[in-house]
């Protein structure tokens, strides 16, 4: 893209204009990241009196730690579950809304609302709905013979956080899928209809492949969301329990560092998370840039 070149008379004005962004990045991103990198090499006692340099010992310990390895697989299940549910439902809703003519904008507006709700509020909402003592869903499930209790059952707890996290992300996915669907020319679908493809076949052989750039983009965004942006939801619903069942990597950083006060280990975990983000970002740029499929 060609941008217009702007010339400033002096040096201080451009720097001043740039300063707020740079300062914010430095204070809230670079500095903590540097701190985390540094801290991950240290071991500190719980009272912060003595600090020793331990090299990569914190990392070595993490990969010997059953809880951490469990957290890795919990995160994987959580991320895959959240991504599949939120993208699947969003795609279903987008295709449905895309078929409407007059009510389309109304539905679109309504479906975007969950996105505007703060994660903690969303978590509390689901906490109430699924509360084993007073919630409506356990009450209904009890009628069909299922005893829901996410306080004792790890599977129930995992389902709860996946639902809560996916629900919030559906809106975002929905908007992108809808935009993607609308950019597919109607005549392609008509041509496929004349070519004898059933509606379902049309979707899988024509619409879905043409949506692949959108789908891939959302895949990365959703994985990132599930891995890093769901602290509030987990904190408000299960707090990582029961017995580590929903203790995702991000939540564990918080729990070990700020509750358990094991700062060295917590910092090492953040560094690993940082590495994961870097990898995901690289994947995204690599593939999104050279448009998928066609």
């Amino acid at each position: 893209m060609q941008t217009k070149r702007m010339t400033f008379p002096g040096h201080w004005l451009p720097y001043a204009l740039l300063a707020p962004q740079v300062i914010i990045t430095l204070i809230f991103f670079i500095w903590p990241a540097g701190q985390a990198l540094y801290q991950s090499l240290l071991r500190e006692d719980a009272f912060g009196i003595k600090t020793t340099f331990v090299g990569l010992e914190n990392f070595a310990r993490l990969f010997r730690d059953g809880d951490y390895l469990n957290s890795l697989s919990v995160t994987a299940v959580f991320a895959v579950g959240t991504t599949l549910i939120s993208m699947g439902l969003a795609l279903l809703m987008a295709t449905t809304v895309n078929r409407m003519i007059r009510s389309r904008s109304t539905y679109t507006t309504l479906l975007v609302w969950p996105y505007a709700i703060a994660p903690a509020i969303a978590g509390v909402l689901w906490w109430f709905i699924f509360n084993p003592s007073i919630g409506i869903v356990p009450y209904l499930l009890d009628m069909v013979g299922y005893r829901w209790n996410h306080r004792t059952s790890g599977n129930d707890a995992m389902m709860l956080v996946i639902f809560a996290a996916a629900w919030k992300q559906i809106s975002y996915n929905f908007l992108f899928f809808l935009a993607g669907l609308q950019s597919i020319p109607q005549s392609l679908i008509e041509a496929a209809a004349i070519d004898g493809a059933s509606p379902l076949k049309r979707f899988w052989t024509v619409v879905f492949p043409l949506l692949s750039p959108t789908t891939f983009f959302l895949l990365v965004v959703n994985v990132v969301y599930a891995m890093f942006d769901t602290f509030g939801i987990i904190h408000a619903t299960t707090e990582g329990g029961p017995s580590q069942a929903t203790n995702t990597l991000v939540y564990k950083v918080y729990a070990d560092g700020f509750v358990g006060l094991n700062l060295g280990s917590s910092a090492a975990q953040s560094v690993i998370l940082m590495a994961i983000v870097v990898v995901l970002t690289i994947i995204q740029f690599r593939f999104i840039e050279r448009r998928v499929n066609y």
């Binding site: 392609l188 496929a192 004349i194 493809a197 066609y294």
Partner: protein, 351 residues
């Protein structure tokens, strides 16, 4: 191979917008019929109703002997070529052609054979492995045609297939479509707003206006004897000139206009029927002022205002006559060049 029969076909959109107001038409087996009309006349809607992409509000549609009103597009045994080609961008040309056959459960060998035959016929064999975006407009057009003809359908439907091509390619593809249709003898219904395309392609033309048929006939029938003032103005370029009979009388038409049919108050004169030199036999003489001279190579268009009336009129003459803008011109019209109309009904009054 089949005929297509439209009986009282109507399309009403919600809000009482009548896009097609009752069309009766029979497209014979193997015939090439062109639907032509200005934009918004309902010609595309009509075609899409035949294809099954629009529901039919009223009337009966038959392909062959089957009533297909309620059938899905795929069940109507038709193939359609779209204005934007509608090629599947994520499939190779080969798969674009094979898609319809695969969906219909043809076996691999048969698909392979048919695609090869179609590709050869359209000279697109070398592109079979490419994706559509690597093709030029003309090549895409061929692929779109190929996709229609591999299926060997009962009828081809064309929705302004040439309007996205440049002028030169359009002429070339026009000829190819015509030749292809002659060879395959597949019933074809072709929609266009371009009257030249309509004239050159169709065995018969259907001129549509505001959701209704104005006239059906061979291109020459329609050109020689337009049934309404609308058709007269639409077919032929430059358009036919309309001159009030009263005006001609006032200019001293003598006995020449006496035998015009009853009800005639306006006459149409084709730009080529206005001569700068007096022809043999009886003729009208009209004076005018030359406003604009347009040289178009082999022919010239003279934009004139009739004397004492300011009515803009176009004359087409071959070559480049030695006239200057602002000059007073006298032109001559014979009786058989006059198309008599009634301006209130818009209908031809006779002759």
């Amino acid at each position: 191979m089949a005929s297509i029969t439209l009986e009282g076909l109507k399309k009403t959109y919600s809000g009482d917008v009548q896009a097609v107001k009752g069309v009766d038409l029979e497209v014979h087996d193997g015939e090439f019929v062109v639907l032509v009309g200005p934009s918004g006349c309902g010609k595309s809607t009509l075609l899409r109703m035949v294809a099954g992409l629009e529901t039919i509000t009223e009337g009966t549609l038959k392909i062959g002997d089957r009533v297909v009103n309620k059938l899905e597009p795929a069940e109507r045994d038709i193939a359609m070529v779209f204005q934007n080609y509608a090629l599947y961008p994520h499939m190779t040309v080969y798969n674009n052609l094979a898609y319809g056959l695969k969906n219909r459960g043809f076996n691999k060998d048969e698909i392979e054979k048919r695609v090869q035959v179609a590709a050869e016929m359209l000279e697109i064999e070398e592109f079979l492995d490419r994706k559509p975006r690597k093709l030029s407009g003309g090549q895409r057009q061929r692929v779109a045609m190929g996709r229609a003809l591999v299926r060997e359908p009962a009828a081809f439907l064309f929705d302004e297939p040439l309007s996205n091509l440049d002028a030169k390619l359009r002429v070339q593809m026009r000829v190819e479509i015509k030749q292809l249709q002659r060879r395959l003898k597949t019933t074809s219904l072709y929609v266009t707003h371009d009257q030249l395309e309509a004239m050159t392609l169709g065995d018969r033309l259907v001129v549509l206006n505001a959701g209704q048929i104005e006239q059906v006939g061979t291109p020459m029938q329609i050109y020689a004897r337009p049934a309404t003032m609308f058709v007269a103005g639409f077919i032929g370029s430059p358009a036919m000139n309309m001159v009030p009979v009263e005006y001609l009388h006032a200019r001293g038409a003598n006995g020449l206009l006496d035998n015009l049919p009853e009800g005639t108050d306006i006459v149409g004169i084709r730009p080529d029927d206005m001569h700068l030199a007096p022809p043999a036999g009886q003729h009208l003489i009209v004076e005018s002022t030359l406003q604009l001279f347009e040289a178009a190579g082999a022919e010239s268009h003279l934009y004139v205002n009739l004397a004492d009336s300011d009515q803009p009129t176009v004359i087409r003459v071959s070559g480049q006559p030695p006239v200057a803008e602002g000059e007073t011109l006298r032109f001559y019209v014979t009786r058989d060049a006059l198309h008599p109309f009634n301006s209130t009904t818009g209908q031809r009054t006779g002759d």
